[in-house]
Amino acid sequence: MAMRAAILRHIKVPVRSQALAGLRSREWNLSGGALVRFMSSHDEHLTKEEVMERVLSVVKSFPKVDPSTVTPDVHFQKDLGLDSLDNVEIVMALEEEFKLEIPDLEADKIDSTRLAIEYIYNHPMAG
């Protein structure tokens, strides 16, 4: 309670900007989610180069893959000679690498390094 009072005493809310914030929140509802606001303090976004490098290193370290054949645009099953279950394992390894939780149906569609890089780069929580 004392803590709360102490913190409240330190918070300053300028009236003008609060009114603005009110306006803005109404805009959010109108724009139908065009402006995405992430409810977390997590705001470092990965660069495309970093995503690419880490995705490739995960794919290269997969035991059944010859590292020299991995490029930013290979299809796991057609180019690397893996089967569908290997594909599942790679996607799971990528999820762990980037601390992601990909819904099953979306993960099922990731079948090449290009798609994986694209998906992870566009994921707000990839870390």
Partner: protein
Amino acid sequence: MSAAAAAATTAGYLARRAAQKQRVRILYRRALKDTLNWAVHRHLFYQDASDLRERFEVNKNVESLDAIDRMIAEGEATYNKWRHPDPYIVPWAPGGSKFTRNPTPPEGIEIIYDYGREDND
């Protein structure tokens, strides 16, 4: 059988095969994740994952559609029976420990840290 009927049968067969393949992939994915949930250590997981893979590989060459359907149903039942009650969930995801926690404060609100030197004191 006419050509059209044959084509329709082939299309139906392919569609059913595709659906089965997807079910198997998703079942394998869920089972693999659950294997990780059950493994207390990473080095235990590798053996369990390899065993799981073996169980899928055994039936790799089954051709009969109905037999495959039965096996998938069995696999899904086994998966449901052994589902982990408290699976690992990435913190920000629904059910995770950080889900909807620590939201950024609205713009315009700031905490001024002046450590006891408030202006109204």
